[in-house]
């Protein structure tokens, strides 16, 4: 089906161009009680930074809560009366920044950006003054100088798609045989169980490989994501992961009686945790320790590390042997468990 191939394309496009953790065009409300040249300059600076766009101009304090409740405004900036005058004469005036912290990350970032824009403006005002003992900080961003969030997402997307096809669809496909009763027919045929399973699984292997290649090509050509390390090594690890997912899918199918169950299990035990616990969107280091240990048994976590390392850092097997070994181990584990479960059924 077209969807099977369209899926990776769409996901890559989405991640590449639509979804980002960067901040852009956040709507802010300005409550300017002074309306003088300074507040206007500061407002202009804020609005031309690319981070903010004007959501509303307010005139009263009690309008702020309402503006937030409507859901569009993320931050309110309030200038007190006689701002410019106060700065010039008393060398002191205040700006209040109220952030809608229902999204704390956004609030934090927006506040940081706002503050640094304000500090910048201040520096400009006093640029001719000299201060002693200035420590100047040079910052450098490694591997991803433009802080492009796409680098975060592409490895995760590959992982999820592979898991979807290799694990989820495989588990459903085998569960289907069980559910419809055709499994018995296959089992009494001269085919060995091993052959049956392999036969069922081959189309998904091919599909996964094709999908993985499509994503890699797309992310390279369209998104500009580099592959610093060895392409062959990358593909090898990908194939390993595909086998791992397959073994996992087979295992799930051995414990599911119907397709619906296989799907739900895959969904809740594989997909959701993969998306949320594997380091795809949320960094593992920040999770509570318990969950960090938990994520260690998630194969997707290791695979994402491997891909990121190969693609962005150019790491070779020497750096990644530990993770690779873990994937191999997990694969063997699931295969063994599946075989055991299968034998129990036949006995």
């Amino acid at each position: 089906m077209i969807i099977l191939f369209g899926m990776p394309v769409v996901q890559v496009l989405l991640f590449g161009f639509a979804i980002t953790t960067d901040i852009k065009d956040a709507q802010i409300a300005i409550l300017d009680k002074s309306n003088d040249y300074m507040t206007h300059e500061i407002t202009n600076k804020l609005l031309s930074s690319g981070y903010f766009i004007l959501g509303a101009n307010l005139d009263k304090d009690d309008q702020i809560d309402k503006a937030f409740k409507k859901g569009n405004i993320r931050e309110a900036v309030i200038f007190e009366k006689n701002f410019a005058e106060k700065i010039e004469t008393e060398k002191k005036a205040s700006v209040q920044i109220i952030a809608d912290a229902s999204d704390p990350n956004m609030a934090n970032l927006l506040f940081n950006y706002s503050q640094s824009i304000l500090m910048d403006y201040q520096r400009q005002l006093y640029k001719d003054m000299k201060f002693p003992l200035q420590i100047q900080v040079e910052t450098q961003m490694l591997y991803n100088p433009e802080l492009k969030s796409v680098y975060m997402f592409v490895p995760g997307t590959i992982t999820i798609l592979l898991m979807l096809i290799s694990a989820m669809m495989t588990s459903i496909s085998i569960a289907k045989e069980k559910e419809l009763g055709t499994m018995e027919v296959l089992l009494v045929s001269p085919l060995k169980p091993f052959q049956i399973v392999v036969g069922k699984v081959i189309p998904y292997v091919i599909l996964s490989c094709i999908n993985a290649i499509i994503i890699l090509m797309l992310s390279f050509f369209v998104l500009g994501m580099p592959v610093q390390g060895s392409l062959i090594f990358l593909l090898a690890e990908t194939v390993l992961f595909i086998f791992m997912s397959l073994s996992l899918g087979i295992f799930i199918s051995t414990v599911s009686q119907t397709q619906q169950i296989a799907m739900m299990l895959s969904m809740f035990v594989l997909m959701l945790p993969t998306i949320l616990l594997s380091g795809f969107i949320f960094p593992i280091e920040n999770m509570p320790v318990v969950l960090q240990y938990f994520s260690m048994i998630m194969p997707s976590r290791w695979f994402i590390i491997i891909i990121k390392a190969i693609m962005l850092k150019g790491s070779g097997i020497l750096f990644l042997w530990k993770e690779t070994l873990i994937l191999v181990g997990l694969t063997l584990f699931f295969i063994t468990m599946s075989v055991k479960k299968f034998k129990v059924r036949l006995a």
């Binding site: 002191k92 591997y143 920040n286």
Partner: protein, 380 residues
């Protein structure tokens, strides 16, 4: 009693269908824990996992100065609860290796003559190198490092020139509303709750019609005088009830375990949730009518769901999306519901505030149900 033109009591038939669905669910031993327990477990685990907060950064120090000042600066980082020093060296290459091996995610480089330059020429440089694979995390840790250095700088000035007036002319006062502790779970839990009931709604309900197609029981249904919309309603309602139950259960957990505030009206939440569920389930049913096998149905649903979830503003900000992406969101029911959940729960928004999200959902529900009923053919 409502009678159709075929002299056929509508409500009764729908009730019989609902009764059958519930009976089937009850018999399905494996499904029951999956539907009821798993989502709650997921809620607990994932809410704890989903956070952008940086609790700790591993820092590698390259100190080429070995002066009193450089040691003081290092000590300041050491003393910060956000930092763990994982290595010292004179050599940048060692530091870079550490980053490659993921033993450190940030490097502080203090050049030779740091102290001397600062005191002699009032100007000295340091370098912060950050592993930026995770762009936004890098921005945050960069910010932390900068603020620590700035703090250090200010303290130094105050110690050296006690009478200096260092107060910034522009006094920035800030406050964080609705979530003053910047608690990330408060933000994520409503979202994850939406995610979970969406899965239950979209997948469970949707797969149902295809399952009957696959095992053949739909033949027997098609040959009875059951009306299309009776059948669809009978498929929708049981799962609608289950999903609302899950929502209630999830909200209770949210309050008890995570202490999420529920500022707004519960009736409003459930009211909009009801409409949302109808919209999303009808979508699932419509997909069901397009597919011949459960596999296909699942794949299609998954495809839609992933796109919708990612674009909905659940994990990433909608504002930052380009215009064409925002346009796609018009057909994304999740993107209407998430702000409702968040705004009503955390800010106490009322109906007027969220009506711009509500009415599209109503339209969506109408259209999806109509599509599902239209597509489902009793005569092929």
């Amino acid at each position: 009693m409502l009678q159709s033109k075929y002299n056929h009591p509508i409500m009764r038939t729908i009730l019989y269908i609902i009764q059958k669905e519930f009976r089937q669910l009850k018999r399905n031993r494996q499904m029951l824990p999956i539907i009821f327990i798993m989502p709650m477990v997921q809620l607990l685990i994932l809410s704890f996992a989903a956070t952008f907060e940086i609790k700790n950064t591993n820092l590698f120090i390259v100190d080429n100065d070995h002066s009193q000042l450089s040691r003081e600066l290092t000590a300041k980082f050491k003393g910060s609860p956000f930092y763990t020093i994982t290595g010292y060296s004179d050599d940048y290459n060692t530091a870079q290796k550490a980053v490659e091996l993921r033993k450190a995610s940030q490097i502080l480089i203090i050049p030779t003559d740091f102290e001397r330059d600062l005191y002699k020429e009032d100007k000295a440089k340091v370098q912060i190198v950050t592993d930026a694979i995770n762009g936004s995390a890098a921005a945050l840790t960069n910010g932390y490092a900068l603020s620590i250095i700035r703090d250090f700088n200010v303290n130094l000035l105050v110690e050296t020139f006690p009478s200096i007036d260092l107060k910034d002319p522009i006094d920035v006062r800030y406050s964080f509303w609705y979530n003053p502790k910047l608690d990330y779970t408060t933000f994520m839990v409503p979202g994850i709750l939406v995610l979970l009931i969406t899965i239950i709604g979209l997948f469970l309900c949707g797969m149902n019609i295809v399952r009957e197609k696959e095992i053949g029981t739909i033949e027997q249904i098609n040959v009875t005088p059951i009306h299309k919309y009776e059948f669809i309603a009978g498929k929708l309602i049981p799962f609608w009830i289950i999903a609302l139950f899950e929502l209630a259960f999830g909200l209770t957990l949210a309050k008890l375990v995570f202490n999420i505030p529920i500022v707004g009206s519960l009736e409003l939440i459930f009211g909009v949730a009801s409409v949302y569920l109808i919209a999303i389930m009808s979508l699932g049913l419509f997909i069901s009518t397009l597919a011949d096998t459960q596999q296909q149905s699942m794949f299609l649903s998954w495809f839609c769901m992933v796109i919708f979830i990612l674009m909905s503003g659940l994990f990433t900000p909608i504002d930052s999306m380009p215009e064409w992406a925002k346009a796609i969101n018009i057909i994304n029911p999740i993107h209407y519901f998430i702000p409702v959940m968040r705004n009503v729960m955390l800010k106490g928004s009322n109906f007027a505030d969220i009506s711009k999200y509500f009415w599209p959902l109503v339209c969506y529900g109408f259209i999806s149900i109509s599509l599902a009923v239209w597509r489902y053919r009793k005569t092929s």
